[in-house]
């Protein structure tokens, strides 16, 4: 187990367990709950539209950031690993732009078929 020989926290020999460090975890949890609560606030108080959808998407990206960065610990990994995960996601943006505009085009061409 050479790959894991650098684990500096092998306390099982000493039988001594350090105290839990959970401050960041609970802070992240409250941020996620607050963001979800704000989403519901907008869902019930604001009329549907592009602006509301944009707010939802921005809040969702914030939530995704906190889950990936803190819970999945990606923020604390090496830069190379962070970019190896994030850069391929650009393909998703591409697919999104391509297919959503395709959908709108399909809608227009079917609706205005006889015009």
């Amino acid at each position: 187990m050479a790959a894991h020989s650098d684990h500096s926290n092998d306390f099982h020999q000493a039988g001594e367990i350090p105290k839990a460090q959970t401050k960041v975890i609970w802070k992240t949890f409250f941020i996620l709950v607050a963001l979800t609560a704000v989403e519901f606030l907008f869902a019930f108080t604001m009329d549907a539209g592009t602006l509301r959808n944009a707010i939802f998407i921005i809040l969702t990206i914030f939530k995704a950031f906190y889950i990936v960065a803190e819970f999945m610990h990606l923020k604390h990994e090496t830069k190379a690993l962070i970019w190896a995960i994030l850069i391929p996601m650009a393909l998703i943006i591409w697919l999104m732009v391509a297919l959503i505009s395709e959908g709108s085009y399909y809608f227009d061409s079917v609706r205005n078929y006889f015009n």
Binding site: P18, F40, A48, A64, I67, F71, M72, E77, L81
Partner: protein
């Protein structure tokens, strides 16, 4: 030609070999790249939802006058407004709010289990993994109820032109709107539910190993970390499903 060779200085850069450039174990890296590929799958599903929505007529009337019709795409608040035990009461998005909270909470207990693993605290790992399994199972139960309700339909159903009514949704008929809406509901939430189910199985396996002291003998709880990565990803996907399927 000279026979003497000069010894090259050994290269010690990050990418020159002999070390771990990403400072993560093989298993963890493979989990990350698997999750990346899974993100593409879910991304494609949700983008197809967007495509279908944009290629259908949106509902343009006032939200209060909304009626189910195969003509236009439904308003999600009007479809997902049921809550167990509150038959016929209009509670828009209440049940999905509960499900979201349960899943976020399960993510927190998971990260607490990982944290306990770093401290080699076997009892804490067991405790937090059990909570995660519990919340994951409750979420699956909620989803089963939601599916059952979606398939059964509302009391009123949808009035067709010939005067008959259809109730609920399946792969060919849908009282809530175009059949594609129900198909995408089944595919996207179903695929996510399958992931949650797989996650619960993985958690139970890791829990059994923890109880048997396998990880303690191994000297590290990295397996809990890897299952944790998967579990957080499932939570992450739900955040997006929630926004694009239920809110927008």
């Amino acid at each position: 030609m000279s026979t003497s060779t000069t010894l090259e200085e050994p290269k010690t850069g990050t990418w020159d070999g002999g070390n771990e450039p990403l400072k993560a174990s093989y298993g963890k890296l493979m989990m990350w790249f698997f999750l990346l590929s899974d993100a593409f799958t879910f991304g494609a599903f949700l983008i197809v939802y967007g495509l279908s929505r944009h290629s259908h007529l949106p509902y343009n009337g006032r939200p209060e006058d909304f009626q189910f019709s195969t003509e236009w795409w439904p308003i999600p608040e009007k479809v997902f407004n049921a809550f167990p035990g509150f038959h016929g009461v209009d509670l828009p998005l209440a049940f999905v709010a509960l499900m979201t909270m349960i899943l976020i909470l399960s993510s927190v207990t998971m990260v607490l289990a990982v944290e306990a693993g770093h401290r080699m605290d076997k009892n804490d790992v067991q405790k937090w993994m059990l909570w995660t399994i519990l919340f994951g199972s409750i979420f699956l139960g909620c989803q089963a109820w939601e599916w059952a309700h979606f398939i059964t339909g509302t009391d009123e159903g949808m009035l067709l032109a010939d005067g008959s009514r259809i109730y609920g949704a399946n792969m060919t008929m849908n009282q809530y709107g175009p059949p594609l809406f129900a198909n995408l509901f089944f595919f996207i939430t179903g695929f996510h539910g399958t992931h949650v189910f797989t996650g619960v199985i993985l958690l139970i396996m890791a829990f059994i190993n923890t109880v048997n002291g396998v990880y303690h003998k191994r000297g590290h709880y990295e397996m809990v970390e890897k299952v944790g990565l998967y579990w957080h990803f499932v939570d992450l996907v739900w955040v997006f499903v929630f926004t694009f399927f239920y809110l927008i």
